[in-house]
Each structure stands twice: as C-alpha cells, then as structure tokens.
C-alpha cells in the first residue's frame, strides 16, 4: 500500500534525481564533466517507485541511463557525482564514470553500457536470492531498445522457466537513440512479450507513481513469495537527447514540449500529493529545496575530490586475497 511515508520517500527520491541530473547538465556545459552521459530527467517516477519497494539486500541491475536507479537504490549524490567526474572517491574510484556505476553495498549490481547486458546479471542476482532463501528479489531495469536484444529474451525465458524472483522493468522512453519504438519493435505494448514467457506483464503510465506502484507491489510480492518473475512496461519519455549534445532530429519540439509540460512525473505527483491532502505545498517545497542543496553540495564535493591514482590500474583487475587482507 502506498502509505504517506512511502509517498514522501518516493517524492524525495524523485527530487534528488531531478536535481542531480540538472546539476550534471550545468557541469557538462561548464566542461567539468565529460564522456557519455545519459540523463534520466522525465523518467524519475519509475526508479523512485520501484526501488521504494526494495530493501538494501535486494538487487538491481541498471542501464547506461542509470543515475536514477543508483540514487533510488540508495547511492549518495556526492559519491555518484564524484564518479561521474571520474574522481578517486566516486563509487568506482573513477573507473566507471556515468555508465558503470555500481554500489554493491546497496545491492546495485551496476549500470551497464551494453544495451541489455545487465539483464542476465539481474537474473543471476535473482538466482543468488533464491539460493539464499531469505525472500530477496532482483529488479532488471532496461529500455525499449534492449527489449529487442536476444539476451533479454534468453533471460526472460530462463527466469520464468526457473521461477526466479526477478522483476523485469522495461522503461519505454519511445526512442532507442534515434530509432522510435514503432520503427524497431513488432508490438505496440512491449509487455505483451511477457505472455510468450508465461509471466504476468503490465503496461503502465511510467510517469504516474500510483500506477507504477500498484503493479510493482504485485510483482515484488509475487517474486518474494517464490512465484516467479513479472514484467512491467513503463511508458515514459526522456526530456533530453540520448546523450548530451544529441541534436534530436528524430522528434519534434512540440512532442518534447507536451511531455515536459503536461506529463512531467514530478509535477503530476506533486499535484496529487497536495490534492489528496497528504502534504502541503510548503512541505513539498522544503523537500525539493533540500534535494537541490544536496545536488549542489554533491557538485562541490565532486569538484574537491582528488583524481584517482594510476597505481591501481593493474592491481584492481583481479581480486587478490593477500592484498585485501582476507580469505576468498
């Protein structure tokens, strides 16, 4: 059930993701941050809502557009931003950058820059969860583009056949780089593919927290009870280009405008929270303000972090028990 406390948690996470991403843009434009950076603005409701149902020992595997998933799974903005800048105190010591952030302490098995590459890894997390027998679950985030990768289908088949506790969350943001879903995909609703793997599949408005929550709660419960995987397609939209600097000739300004102005997930959730009487505008403003300050502090932290030491380059390739001072 979507309690008031849970609503607050989701709203807070969405604000953090939004301000983190907006700060990333300013840093990219100021040339203090470089590389492949894919923004999650416009899709915040999905990660925030799904991860609100997870515990620290549940697993997720994320995508190249992964900042939102990381934050929703408990990553701090500061260490995330440090990683985006490739700094020593980033989550991955500057080895990963934007596209490979992981935080194993929070069950985040990593963003993944190969489209669809993280899906079997999440299923492997679900395999481990079942062996552990503590009711853990795994969530595999991927996009509409990945839904056409062979390994995603292999993974869905195996997860269903082996009844693994995994939730496949397809973030359909309508475009795989420049190619629209209608050009690339045989079905209108990607969730119908779940039927082919004998698992429940739902298509929901990915910009509506309550809608996502309703099905995600069922999917997570089903997984925790050992009944197997589910598939949730969240229809959404990315506000910005595929990457920073994408000229976006494949979509119109009007289309972007409609999604930004009329379907902003954060604005919609805010309006609902106020209308339901759960929160006042002032309370939500305070959450928003705190998130903005946290994002700005993350920027300052990342700027102040030292560069990584190249001495780790070869020693971080393998785990060496003696070096770590522990057994295998």
């Amino acid at each position: 059930m979507l309690t008031k406390e849970r609503k607050k948690q989701i709203y807070t996470t969405m604000c953090k993701i939004r301000h983190f991403e907006l700060t990333v843009i300013t840093m990219f434009e100021a040339n203090v941050l470089r590389g492949s950076v894919h923004l999650y603005v416009g899709e915040e409701a999905i990660a925030a809502t799904i991860c609100s149902l997870l515990n620290d020992d549940d697993y997720i595997a994320s995508t190249h557009r992964g900042h939102g998933h990381c934050i929703a799974k408990g990553a701090t903005l500061a260490k995330s931003m440090a990683e985006l800048m490739g700094k020593a105190d980033g989550y991955c010591k500057g080895h990963s950058g934007s596209m490979h952030i992981a935080d194993f302490t929070k069950g985040n098995l990593g963003a993944n820059a190969i489209v669809g590459g993280g899906v079997p890894i999440a299923v492997g997390g679900a395999y481990a969860a079942r062996v552990n027998g503590r009711g853990q679950v795994a969530v595999s985030f991927f996009g509409d583009g990945a839904s056409n990768e062979g390994v995603v289908h292999e993974s869905m088949n195996m997860a269903s056949n082996w009844k693994l506790p995994v939730i496949f969350v397809c973030e359909n943001n309508q475009y795989a780089v420049s190619t629209s879903v209608s050009e690339s995909t045989s079905v209108k609703d990607i969730s119908v593919r779940a039927k082919g793997y004998d698992m429940p599949g739902w298509t929901v408005d990915g910009n509506d927290v309550e809608e996502i929550y309703k099905v995600a709660e069922k999917a997570v419960k089903r997984a925790r009870e050992g009944k197997g995987p589910s598939f949730i397609e969240c229809k959404t939209y990315r506000w910005f280009g595929h990457w920073m600097g994408d000229p976006q000739p494949y979509r119109t300004r009007d289309e972007v405008k409609v999604w930004r102005e009329e379907r902003d997930p954060l604005k919609r959730f805010r309006e609902k929270l106020i209308a339901s009487g759960d929160f006042t505008a002032a309370e939500l403003d305070a959450i928003d303000k705190a998130a903005e300050e946290e994002a700005l502090a993350a920027k300052e932290y990342a700027l102040s972090c030292p560069e990584p030491d190249p001495i780790d380059l070869e020693t971080d390739v393998f785990y060496v028990p003696e070096k770590e001072g522990g057994a295998n």
């Binding site: 194993f104 990593g110 292999e154 971080d316």
Partner: protein, 326 residues
C-alpha cells in the same frame, strides 16, 4: 593416488568441491541427465540434484550472465560450454561483462565464476566445433586463462579455478578426455596459476607447448633425442598469468625457443610469448623465436585437411632442427 581419465578426474573435482561448498552450482547445456556432451558431468545430477547441476537452455549469453550475477552475489558458479566455440555467442557477456566487472566497479566485486568446456580438433566436428580459442581471452584484462594438459594437472588447476574469486576461462581438449593419468586425490590439491611445469629437461632447445601440443612436443622431443638433440619441453599451464620466468630461465640454458599451439599461428598467443621473450632475453637467444600454429584457414572437416591445417609432430621436429641450423 588413483588412475582416472582426464574427464573422470574433472568430474571428481566437481564432486569434491560441491561437497566442500554447498553454494557452488553448475549450469550448462545437457549437463544433467546426459552428463554433458563429453561426459564430464556424468551422474552428477543424481548426487547433487537438478538445482545444482542445472541443464541450461541453448542460451549461452544469458547462462554466462546469470553465472556472473550469481557469482557477484556470493554464489560461486561453474558454466560449462558444450564447445568453447559457443562461447563466442556469449562474447559480450564474457568480454564486456565478466572480464570487466571487478575493474569497472572500482574493485567492489568478487567474481567466483569458472567458464569451462572443451575445444579443438580431432573428431571431425568441422569449422565451428573445432577451434582453439584461448588466445582471444588472453587478450582481455580480467580473465584468467587456464590450459591444462595432463589429467592430474587438470585436477590441480580446476580446483584452483573453482576456488579463485576471479573469473577463469578453463580450456579442455576433446582429444585428452580419454587419456589416463595418476591423480592426486588430496581434496585440497591445487596447482597455483602462473607456474609453468618443465615436462622434460633438455639443453639444446626449449619448446613451449600446451594441451594436446604438450604431448606432441614430447613426442617430437623423443624423436629428436634419437638424433642426439636434447629438447626441454615446458607446459605453461596458464596463459594469463603466464610464467615468463620459467621460460626465460630455460632459454638462458638452451638459447632457442619454439612455441607451438593449436590456435592459429597468426596473432596466436605464441606471438605474444615470442615478442615478450625476445624483449626480455634477446641476448640469450641464438636464433629468432619460432612459432607453430594452425594455418590461416578455418579448421576443415576432411581429416587429411584437418591434419594439414594443424601442426604435426614432424613439423615440430623440423622447426627445432631449423632453430639449431640443422
């Protein structure tokens, strides 16, 4: 000590390691009831059940990805590739995911995953079931590459691979499975990675040969001995890490080096060994390092052609003589 075939010896390791670590599991095509296409897992499903000896669908990429995910989450996994050639179907998972997991995530993860299977010529399996692919995996940082020759070595190396908290690509040769050997049955018998073995001592020329080619090199050494040429034969045992010290010590003595493998000669791992030894030990070399490997064509089906495409004992003999200017 007990006499076992190479394939029985590997199976015995799985049994002992699965009893030792109740979390260890294995996935692969046809490994349960059939016991694997080459019989390595015969009967294991009866001992450990279908959850731990798990038949996988023909989905190599997802199988390896699932193994990786499980391993990252603390459940050690062995994935059997029915043919290493099929590992190429899963190249993204092996090279982009498995190999890079520890490094890209800033050394957070341990990845106790073994990917093993057989490869190579000899059974008329044709171009996509007969390749020797170990070289490819040596190229990428993050994968340990193991190439056992004798059954007993396979046991010690396989146990090290299973207990290693890092990904290991373990290559078996289909023609070696039936070969018998005295096996060290100590349940903790392990051969550390990065230690080559001098399989035969000699003074005139060094041969580095792995897997099937260790045996062919030893055959060649016997023939050369009849002509008064004493060859030292080294089994590298692992290609990553590679034990250059042992090879270079040998070259200091012999002044000559031949590297022979079944992988294609062009850009094969022998080329890397030749370059490295030349750089490190040039002053001890009395001749350029020589290499033998498969011809630059896919492995053909016809047995006569297959022979012609891969190094034969007589070619090893000739190559050594050429190094000795004989």
């Amino acid at each position: 000590m007990a006499e076992m075939t190479y394939s029985q010896a590997l199976r015995d390791v799985v049994i002992k390691e699965m009893k030792r670590d109740p979390k260890l599991f294995m996935m692969g095509e046809d490994i349960a009831t059939l016991g694997g296409a080459y019989g390595v897992t015969k009967g294991l499903v009866d001992i450990f059940g279908p959850e731990r000896i798990r038949n996988a669908p023909i989905s190599e990429a997802a199988t390896i990805g699932i193994g990786l995910g499980a391993a990252c989450c603390g459940i050690p996994a062995i994935v059997e590739l029915q043919y290493w050639d099929f590992g190429l179907v899963a190249a993204d998972q092996i090279i982009n995911q498995v190999a890079k997991t520890r490094f890209v995530f800033g050394a957070q993860a341990k990845v106790p995953l073994v990917i093993r299977g057989q490869q190579g010529i000899g059974r008329g399996n044709g171009a996509t079931h007969s390749q020797s692919l170990e070289t490819i995996f040596v190229h990428f940082p993050g994968l340990k590459v193991v190439v056992p020759s004798t059954a007993n070595e396979a046991v010690g190396l396989f146990r090290s691979a299973i207990r290693d908290p890092n990904p290991v690509c373990f290559f078996e040769h289909k023609l070696l499975y039936a070969k018998k050997d005295e096996i060290n049955e100590d349940p903790d018998f392990m051969i550390p990675f990065g230690q080559a073995r001098i399989a035969r001592e000699g003074t005139d020329c060094t041969i580095v040969g792995s897997m099937l080619y260790l045996f062919r090199s030893l055959e060649a050494a016997d023939l050369l001995a009849q002509e008064g040429i004493n060859v030292e034969v080294i089994d590298p045992r692992t290609l990553n890490p590679f034990d250059y010290d042992t090879v270079i010590e040998s070259v200091k003595k012999t002044g000559r080096l031949l590297v022979v493998h079944e992988a294609h000669r062009k850009a094969g791992w022998g080329a890397e060994v030749a370059a490295e030894v030349t750089e490190r030990a040039f002053k001890y070399l009395d001749a350029p390092v020589a290499r033998l490997g498969a011809v630059d064509c896919p492995i053909p089906f016809n047995p006569m052609l297959e022979k012609a495409a891969t190094p034969q004992v007589s070619q090893i003999v000739d190559a050594v003589k050429a190094l000795l200017y004989k």
